[in-house]
Structures are given as C-alpha cells and as structure tokens.
C-alpha cells in the first residue's frame, strides 16, 4: 500500500513541535552557533537557520546567506547525532570505600528526544551505530537508552554540498528508511511548505494528529526528482564495493607516506565522523582513595595511546593510523558488520585541518593499485 503523504505549511512545524512536547520529547533542531549550524534543543521554529546555507571544501566550512528563506538549506555541520546518542563523556561506574567497597551503577534512563532535520547520510550513520552498539552480543546500554528515546524526523537533501558523496555510498540524498517522518522542503516566497511522509507508526500518528492536508499529486515525483538531481550534482564518489579489494592490494602503496606527511594525527576526522564509535575508559579516584569513578570518553585511532598494550603502541606512526582508519571505514567494517563505516557525509573532508579527502585518497590508491604492489599482509607496515 502506498504511504499516505501530507502537505505541511511552515506554520505547521510549530504544531509539530507542540505535538512532540506533548508526547514527552525534547525537540532538537539545527541552529546557528558560532560559525556553524549545530544540533541544539529547539524551543521554536524561529530558531531554525532560515535563509542560511553552508559551503564546504577540504579544510573549509563557511556559513553564507541564501537568496531565499529556506529553513533547511544547509548541509551537515561539525556535529551529528553521535554527539547526543553516543555522548563524548559518560560515567560508567562509581565506587565508594567506607570499610567495604560499594559499587554504584545506575542503568541509564531513556531520554526522549525528537531530532528535526536529520539528513539521509546521518540516518545511515544511526543505522551503522545501531549495528555496532546494539546488534551484537554486548549491547551498549547508554546508546540504547538514548536511541530508544530518539524520534527521527528526516529532511531530504534537494541539493548537495561540494563535499557530499552519499549517492555513491547509497545512503542519500533521499531518506529511504530509518526515519519516523521524512520531510522534503519546498521553498516558497518568504516561507516554505513540506512534503511529509511517515516512516513509522509513531510518525504516522503524529502526522495524523496534525490534521494536515494530503499532499498534492505530483509533489512526491518532484521530491524524487530534486533528490535525484542533488545526487547527480555530486562530484565526489567512493566505490564501496571495490574498496576492500583496493585497500588490501595497496598496503605498501607510497600514497600512505605522502598522506602521512600532511596528516596531523589530530583526530578531527574521527571526532566529526558520525559512525566513529571508539571510546577510552578512564579511572579517576579521590585523593583519599575513598571514592572512584570510571568514565568513558570518545577516543580516536589517531592517538598514540589507542593501540597501547603492554610494552608500547602498535601503530606508532600517523601513516599506520591513517591507513588503519581508512581501511576500517571502507574495508574492515564491511567484513565485520556487512556495511561500510562511511556514509558519504563528507565531514572528514571539510573538518580535516589539513584538507585530506577520503575520496581523493581512495581514487589515488585505486588508480595505481595494479600488480605493482604486493598482496596480503606486510610485516613492515609502519
């Protein structure tokens, strides 16, 4: 059966916010802060970045004014839902010593948040985090509590940023699954209208309650066409299906050395990546040894300590760390999780202070990955 589709006016978004609050959700939406558009608690529609867009290039992100008043006329910023679902810092355990040792561990409480404006690439990222943090033997209960309470309202991309390559990764520009409601903005003169499609029962019931009109015939086709033209406009691409073979063929490729000369090993790419989930565990204790806590903080495979085991670190050079990161994103993830760890959002390209471009790296490896380079595992990789 064809899903029912609705026509929402910009003013209906306020009713949507009210509806979400009545259901116990704290709405979150894109807002201008400092020099970027970020996810922040949304009190009203007026806080959305109307009339603003962003332009990106390797190592560059700039906000610019649009010629219209589009509410969602910008692209992914430095943060993603990872920041809210898989927080940078979380307390895992507290311990107290008072004659005997007492451990305090509270199960994380479900946090109900509705995210308005999730892009298709970021829905794919949430699916990737679900796969890693929820679908195996060990479930990450902090992520689970945040994820269970998350309502996802997607906004389809009807144009692409220069750093986008979601079309090649099959994750966008149009949201195909994983959302509760998907919106496609139709920018009008001074205000916008939206094609709204439910993707879940919750989404369907919210749209039903908004008493919106059915979408006019042709809106769906126009939405599909604008998303397709956004896909066609993308100039960057990664071939995820051939990536594992290319990476395995090029372990000793000189390109890794060239890139390592630029790589700052600062970890920005892993921080902005919406799927990089690695964490470190830190113990802190009071000076009098009567209390201690165990914290979980975001880590990065670009740090020396990341591969520290007894006696030293395994990946001692930035070259080995960059190679590890790229291999993990595009090859090892596919083997382990059956999906790439990259969604084509392009954040790592824009937010790398050295402007290293994952699509350019893959193209360079692929272009010269013929029989010149040995196959299999090298023992002198660093």
């Amino acid at each position: 059966m064809r899903k029912k589709q609705y026509r929402l006016h910009q003013s209906d978004l306020s009713s949507l916010l009210e509806n979400l609050r009545r259901r116990g959700y704290q709405p979150y939406g894109p807002q201008r802060r400092d020099h970027a558009i970020e996810w922040l608690p949304l009190d009203g529609i007026h806080q959305l970045p109307a009339g603003w867009t962003t332009t990106t290039a390797p190592a560059t992100y700039r906000m610019q004014e649009r010629s219209d008043q589009a509410l969602f006329g910008y692209w992914t910023g430095p943060d993603s839902l990872k920041k809210l679902l898989h927080p940078p810092e979380a307390c895992l355990l507290k311990a107290e010593y008072n004659g005997g040792v007492r451990f305090v561990r509270q199960a994380p409480a479900e946090v109900k948040r509705a995210f308005i404006g999730v892009r298709a690439c970021d829905l794919a990222a949430v699916a990737a985090l679900d796969r890693v943090l929820l679908s195996d033997r060990w479930v990450d209960d902090i992520y689970q509590a945040n994820r269970n309470g998350a309502l996802l309202i997607a906004v389809n991309c009807t144009s692409s940023a220069p750093t986008c390559f979601c079309a090649s990764m099959g994750s966008g520009p149009r949201a195909r699954s994983g959302y509760d409601i998907a919106l496609t903005e139709r920018v009008g003169d001074g205000s916008s209208e939206f094609l709204a499609e439910p993707g879940s029962e919750a989404g369907a019931s919210i749209l039903e309650e908004l008493t919106a009109l059915a979408a006019p015939a042709g809106w769906e086709k126009e939405a599909e066409e604008s998303c397709q033209s956004a896909a066609a406009a993308q100039t960057r691409a990664v071939d995820a299906s051939s990536a594992p073979a290319v990476i395995d063929r090029t372990f000793d490729h000189p390109r890794w050395d060239q890139t390592a000369r630029r790589c700052l090993a600062c970890g920005n790419c892993t921080s902005v990546c919406p799927t990089c989930f690695c964490v470190n565990i830190e113990e802190r204790n009071a000076l009098d040894l009567r209390s201690a806590e165990r914290l979980r903080v975001w880590d990065s495979c670009f740090t020396q300590a990341f591969t520290y085991i007894h006696g030293g670190s395994i990946r001692t050079t930035p070259k080995s760390r960059y190679r590890q990161w790229l291999s993990h994103k595009l090859a090892r993830w596919q083997e382990q999780f059956g999906m790439p760890g990259c969604t084509g959002c392009g954040r790592c390209i824009a937010w790398c202070p050295a402007g290293i471009d994952i699509t350019e790296e893959m193209a360079a490896l692929e272009a010269s990955s013929g029989s010149t380079y040995p196959t299999g595992v090298s023992t002198h990789g660093n």
């Binding site: 802060r33 400092d34 020099h35 970027a36 970020e38 190592a59 560059t60 992100y61 700039r62 906000m63 430095p78 943060d79 920041k83 940078p88 810092e89 000369r261 630029r262 790589c263 700052l264 090993a265 600062c266 970890g267 920005n268 921080s271 902005v272 830190e282 113990e283 802190r284 204790n285 009071a286 000076l287 009098d288 040894l289 903080v297 975001w298 990065s300 670009f302 740090t303 020396q304 300590a305 050079t317 930035p318 824009a350 937010w351 202070p353 050295a354 402007g355």
Partner: protein, 261 residues
C-alpha cells in the same frame, strides 16, 4: 610499632620561572587540604618557612635552567628525590625565556643591565630534562591544577596518571567547540598541541597558542603549510610557534624552517 604509615614527603623547587605553576598548587583550595593530609609538604618555600631536608619522595620542579648555579642545583635536587616531576612549560621545554636561545643573550644583558659584569648567565634556557632524568613532565603554561591533583593522586595510588598526550582538537570536539581554522580561517596550534587545557582559547574564539607544547606526534610542518594557505606570512608563522614552548624541538624546527623557506 606504629600502624600509621609514613606520609610521602613532597618538595617543590623553583628555577627560572614566573611562579605561576607553583601558584596553581596553592590555588587548589579544598584539594590542597586533602593533599596536605595525604602527603607531608616538606619543602615549599613559596608556601612555608618550614623547610625540611631531603630525601623526598616526590620533587615538583618548576622553571628552566638558565645559570651555572641552577645547573648545579638541579643535580642536587635530582639526588634528593625518588620521583622528579617537572611542571610547566619552563621546566619541560625551557619556557618563554628560551627565546633567547635564538639570539645572542650577551647582547640582551648589555642592553638591559647597567653593569652587565654582575650578570652570570648561561647562553641558553633549557628544560630540566636536558640536565637530569625526569620521571614525568607535566605540561602547560601554567599547568592545569586538576592535572597536578591527578598526578599526585595517581602517584600515591600507584597507577598511571590519566593525562593525555593527544591533540587539543579532541578536547575541542568533546566540548562541541566549532573548529576555528576550518569554520573561520583562524590559525590555531590545536592540531599540534598537547591536550590538557580543555581547549580553553578555542572555546572563546581564539586559536590555540600552544601552551601545552607539542603533542605526541606533532606534524608542525603540515600545520605551517596550512597557515600559509590561510594567508599567514613566514614571520607570523615563526611567531606562532615561538611562544611558551619555542624550544620544544618540533616547534623550534618548524620555526627555523619557515624562516629559510
């Protein structure tokens, strides 16, 4: 036999420095009482006239070595201490006063002092680690006081201190600072600087000044190249790397190369 264990004895020494790092110790407030309860502060002239002789379990050493007198004294300090921890940019890299290493310090002496003959100084300002083995270097200009508590706590608990050596960028991202270099084109030393300050300056819209010195695998030449792309001229790039940790080799090398390039 007394069941009360002997409290570890701590001493605080100062060489060429501004005292700011020692002040962070006095600035600990409530934690200072806890520290004073957990250890015996045996020698800390800035805080107390009670100055007990060594040996000490932990010596905290602030400042760089700039005179013959200090070069001899640090040897004695090392011999008196089981664990020697150098604290702050002066002690770990030579400090801001190491700028004289790039020039003729004799000329400075002649310009500044009415009777230069009275001044006996070494040509260079050097970190403690160039003179004696150091057990731990606590970075920062000044040091972060919670690092000091963590270091003392970890040392007393017999565990590794949780003090990162990775970049400031990771701290920036954890506290949701927007990258100034990418989003505003502001030169920032964050990508090559060791974390520890909690990304203080970027949180207030200023590029990192590198107070915590080079991070573990600092790629300063690549960052200098980026500064050039952002429009910085060689003298500006040289100045960016020549501040509190100018003599740290990664910063020193790039500041010398940028001048000749």
């Amino acid at each position: 036999m007394s069941s009360e264990p002997t409290r570890p004895r701590i001493a605080v020494f100062k060489f060429a420095s501004c005292d700011g790092c020692q002040l962070s110790l006095l600035d600990l407030e409530d934690d200072l009482l806890a520290i004073a309860g957990a250890v015996e502060i045996a020698y800390f002239p800035e805080a107390s006239r009670r100055m007990l002789k060594g040996p000490y379990d932990i010596a905290l050493v602030e400042g760089s070595i700039t005179t013959h007198h200090d070069a001899n004294l640090i040897q004695k300090v090392r011999r008196s201490a089981r664990t020697l921890i150098s604290i702050g940019a002066c002690a770990t890299s030579g400090g801001i006063q190491a700028l004289r290493n790039f020039a003729d310090s004799g000329e400075y002496v002649r310009m500044v002092y009415a009777k230069p003959d009275f001044i006996s100084t070494l040509r260079m300002s050097t970190p403690i680690g160039e003179h004696v083995p150091v057990d731990f270097e606590l970075r920062g200009c000044p040091i972060q006081k919670n690092h000091l508590v963590e270091l003392i706590t970890a040392t007393l608990a017999g565990r590794k201190p949780a003090i990162p050596t990775s970049s400031v960028c990771l701290e920036c991202k954890r506290r949701s600072n927007v990258c100034l270099m990418v989003a505003a084109g502001t030169p920032c030393l964050g990508p090559v600087t060791q974390a520890g300050c909690g990304a203080l300056c970027p949180a207030y819209g200023r590029g990192c000044y590198g107070c915590f010195g080079p991070m573990e695998s600092a790629n300063a030449p690549s960052l200098a190249e980026r500064f050039t792309i952002l429009g910085a001229q060689p003298p500006e790039i040289e100045r960016a790397f020549r501040t509190y940790n100018a003599w740290a080799w990664q910063f020193r090398k790039v500041s010398e190369e940028v001048r000749t390039s």
